[in-house]
C-alpha cells in the first residue's frame, strides 16, 4: 500500500499543478491573461509532459499494487523507479523554468536544435529528464513482466493461450487463467517496454546530435519513433488505470469479474493494436509507406473493439441491476467509462484518414485526448482512491459533496471540453499561443469550464482528506 499511495499522491499532486498551468494557458488564449509567446510554449511543454507523467505515475502505482497482491514484488525496485521519476521531473522543471525550453513534449526532430530561443543545456536537461522518466517507467514494466512470467511460467500462459485454445484440458487440470488485472499488467508491461525503447532510441539519437551536430538523424525515422513512444505511453496510462475497474467495480457492486476467453482475446488485440495505431499521427506525411497508413486506420478502429465489447461492456454488466450505491468511488468509475467511450469516439473520427485531413493538428486533437485523460484516466484513478478510502472508513460522502464534485468535474469538464471540439471542427490550429477566430471565444468558455473542474477537484481533495482522517473500520465491523 505504501508504494501505491506514494505513486498516486505524487501523480495527483503533479496533476493539480499542471491543471493550474493548463488554466493559465487557456486564459492566455482567451486574451484574459498576458503570457508572452516564449513563456506560453515553455508552459505548454511543461503542461504536456507533466500531465502524461502524472497519469503514468499514478496509474503505475495502482497497477504495481494490483500485481503485488497476486505476486510479491520487491519494493526497492519501485522506489528506485520513483527516484528516476523524481529526478526526471526535476530535470524537466529546471529545463523549463530556468532554461525556458519550449519545443513541446513531442519535441519533433530537428525542432529542439533549430531556431531555438533557449540555451543548448536546456534541451539537454529536457531530453535527460524525459529519458529518466522513461527509464523509471520501463523499470516498473520490466519488474511487472518478469514477476508475471515467473509466476505463470511464460508469456503464453500469462496471456492465457492454453486457456483459450485448450480450455477443457486446462480446466480439467485444475488450472485457472490469470486474473483480469494481470492481463492488463502484462499488456502494459510489454507495450510499455516497446514504446519506452522507441523513446529512448530517438532520445539517445538527439542527445548524440546535441553533443555533435554532425550526427545526422532522418526526420521521418525520428517522427515515427517519437510518435510510437508518445502515443503508446499516453495510451497506456488508460490501460494502467483500467486495471482498477476489474478490482474496484466488483467491490462497489458486490459481484465478481472473472477472466474469460473474450477478455483474454481482447487483451491480445490491445497488445497488438496499441503499438501500431500510432501510424495515425503520420497520416499527413504522404512520404510514409502507404501500407502503414492503411494499417493505422484499421488498427485504430480495431483497438476500440476490446474496449467497447469487453471492458466497458463488462463494467456496465457488473453495475446493471446490482443495487450498487452511488458513492464518489463508483460515480468516478462509471463516469470514467463514459469519458473513455466519448473521447475514444472522437479519436476514431480523427483516425479516419479522409476526416483527418480536416482535423489533423487542429484543436480536435487536444479535444479527444483531454476527454480521454481528464474524464477517463483521471476518473479511474480518483475512483480507485475513493473506493479505497470509502472501504477503509466504512462510509461514503453525502449527496451534497457528490453533487459539488460531479458538477465541477463532469459539468465543468463538459464546458471545458466542448470548446476544443467546436473550435477544432472549425479548423482552429492546436498549439497556437494566439489563435485565429473563433479560437479566443471558445478558449474563454473553456477557461470557465476548467475553473469549474478546479472547484470539483478541490472539493474531491477536501473530501478525500476528510475520509482519510476518519478512523479505519475494524475488520469485525
Amino acid at each position: 500500500m505504501k508504494i501505491m499511495w506514494t505513486y498516486i499522491v505524487a501523480g495527483l499532486t503533479i496533476f493539480g499543478l499542471m491543471l493550474l498551468v493548463g488554466i493559465g494557458l487557456r486564459a492566455s488564449q482567451a486574451g484574459w491573461l498576458p503570457i508572452d509567446t516564449g513563456t506560453f510554449y515553455s508552459l505548454l511543454s511543461l503542461h504536456g509532459v507533466g500531465m502524461i507523467t502524472a497519469m503514468a505515475i499514478a496509474g503505475l502505482g495502482l497497477l504495481w499494487y494490483l500485481v503485488d497482491r497476486e505476486i510479491k514484488l520487491d519494493e526497492r525496485v519501485a522506489l528506485l523507479a520513483f527516484a528516476f521519476f523524481a529526478i526526471g521531473v526535476l530535470s524537466v522543471i529546471v529545463s523549463v523554468v530556468f532554461g525556458h525550453f519550449g519545443a513541446l513534449w513531442t519535441m519533433l526532430y530537428p525542432l529542439p536544435f533549430v531556431g531555438t530561443t533557449w540555451p543548448a543545456w536546456a534541451t539537454g536537461a529536457w531530453l535527460m529528464g524525459v529519458a529518466l522518466v522513461m527509464l523509471g517507467f520501463m523499470l516498473i514494466c520490466a519488474q511487472l513482466l518478469g514477476a508475471i512470467l515467473r509466476q505463470y511460467g511464460g508469456l503464453g500462459s500469462a496471456l492465457g493461450v492454453d486457456y483459450v485454445f485448450r480450455r477443457k484440458a486446462f480446466e480439467a487440470a485444475g488450472k485457472h487463467p490469470p486474473k483480469p488485472q494481470i492481463f492488463a499488467a502484462t499488456v502494459v508491461s510489454i507495450d510499455g517496454l516497446i514504446g519506452g525503447a522507441s523513446g529512448l532510441l530517438v532520445g539517445i539519437a538527439m542527445i548524440a546530435h546535441l553533443l555533435d551536430p554532425h550526427v545526422a538523424i532522418d526526420p521521418l525515422w525520428a517522427k515515427n519513433l517519437t510518435y510510437q513512444f508518445g502515443h503508446t505511453f499516453a495510451n497506456l496510462t488508460m490501460y494502467m488505470a483500467v486495471a482498477g475497474i476489474y478490482v474496484a467495480l466488483p467491490i462497489c457492486t458486490k459481484r465478481e469479474y472473472h477472466s474469460s476467453v473474450p477478455l483474454a482475446v481482447a487483451w491480445w488485440g490491445t497488445l497488438v493494436f496499441v503499438i501500431i495505431a500510432y501510424f495515425h499521427h503520420l497520416y499527413m506525411d504522404f512520404v510514409q509507406w502507404p501500407i502503414v497508413q492503411y494499417i493505422g486506420e484499421i488498427s485504430s478502429y480495431l483497438a476500440a473493439v476490446p474496449v467497447v465489447v469487453v471492458t466497458v461492456f463488462g463494467g456496465l454488466m457488473l453495475i446493471h441491476r446490482s443495487g450498487m450505491k452511488w458513492t464518489l468511488g463508483s460515480m468516478f468509475f462509471f463516469a470514467g467509462m463514459v469519458g473513455w467511450i466519448v473521447g475514444g469516439s472522437a479519436a476514431i473520427l480523427d483516425a479516419t484518414i479522409p476526416l483527418n485531413v480536416d482535423l489533423h493538428n487542429t484543436l480536435w486533437v487536444p479535444a479527444h485526448f483531454h476527454t480521454y485523460l481528464l474524464e477517463g484516466v483521471l476518473l479511474f484513478i480518483l475512483g480507485w482512491v475513493f473506493v479505497a478510502l470509502e472501504q477503509r472508513a466504512g462510509s461514503a460522502s453525502n449527496a451534497v459533496v457528490r453533487w459539488i464534485v460531479g458538477l465541477g468535474i463532469f459539468g465543468g469538464g463538459a464546458i471545458f471540453l466542448i470548446p476544443f471540439y467546436v473550435a477544432g471542427a472549425a479548423g482552429v490550429p492546436r498549439r497556437y499561443a494566439v489563435e485565429p477566430a473563433p479560437g479566443p471565444f471558445w478558449a474563454g468558455i473553456a477557461t470557465i469550464g476548467a475553473l469549474l473542474v478546479l472547484v470539483g477537484v478541490l472539493a474531491a481533495l477536501v473530501e478525500g482528506i476528510r475520509l482519510a482522517r476518519k478512523p479505519a473500520l475494524s475488520v469485525s465491523q
Binding site: 533549430v114 456496465l316 450498487m324 480536416d358 493538428n361
Partner: protein, 172 residues
C-alpha cells in the same frame, strides 16, 4: 475537405447516444436488483451481437473510406501542374496565384524543421493539408473549384513564431 462541421455533428450524435445508452443500462431497474448469473446470461447473448455489430461497422467504415485516401493520387497525378512550396521558420515560399478547375500538385518541403501546410478556403474551413518535412517532399494533389483568397497556416508546431506563420494565395 472542409468536413469539420459535419464531423462535429456526427461526434455529438454518437456521444449523446453513447451517454444515453450507458445511463440507461445502469439506471434501468436499478431499484430491483437481479442475481449476477441472470444479468450475465442476457449480457453474454447481447455481447455476441454487439461484437458482430462493432466489427461490421469497423470493417465497413474502413472499406467506405478507402477510395478517399489521398495517397494513391499523390503518386499518380498525370497532367497536373506542379507548384513548389517551401516552408521555413516562419513563412511559406509559394506561388501567389493558382489556377482554378485544373489538377494541381503542391510539392511541399521544409528548409529547417517540420511544418504543416494547411490550406483554408475562402469560407474559413480547413480545405486540405500536408506536412512540410526537411529532407522530404510531400506531394499534395488538389483541385480548386471555388475562386478567391485561400489562407495558408502552419499546422505543425515549429517554434516560437508558429502561431504567426501564415500566408496565402489567390485562386483564379
Amino acid at each position: 475537405m472542409g468536413e469539420g462541421p459535419l464531423v462535429l455533428q456526427i461526434f455529438l450524435v454518437v456521444a449523446v447516444l453513447a451517454i444515453a445508452a450507458m445511463l440507461f443500462v445502469v439506471l434501468y431497474g436499478a431499484r430491483t436488483p437481479l442475481p449476477q448469473s441472470v444479468v450475465n446470461d442476457a449480457g453474454y447473448r447481447i455481447r455476441k451481437i454487439w461484437l458482430g455489430l462493432v466489427l461490421f461497422v469497423a470493417v465497413v467504415a474502413f472499406a467506405i473510406t478507402l477510395p478517399f485516401f489521398p495517397y494513391p493520387w499523390a503518386k499518380a497525378s498525370p497532367g497536373a501542374q506542379h507548384f513548389t512550396v517551401t516552408a521555413a521558420q516562419y513563412a511559406f515560399v509559394m506561388p501567389s496565384v493558382i489556377p482554378a478547375n485544373v489538377p494541381i500538385v503542391f510539392d511541399v518541403t521544409s528548409q529547417d524543421v517540420n511544418h504543416g501546410f494547411g490550406i483554408y478556403a475562402p469560407d474559413g474551413n480547413l480545405f486540405a493539408q500536408v506536412q512540410a518535412m526537411p529532407d522530404y517532399i510531400n506531394h499534395l494533389p488538389i483541385e480548386f473549384h471555388v475562386k478567391g483568397h485561400y489562407t495558408v497556416r502552419c499546422l505543425e508546431f515549429c517554434g516560437i513564431g508558429h502561431a504567426y506563420m501564415h500566408g496565402g494565395f489567390d485562386v483564379r
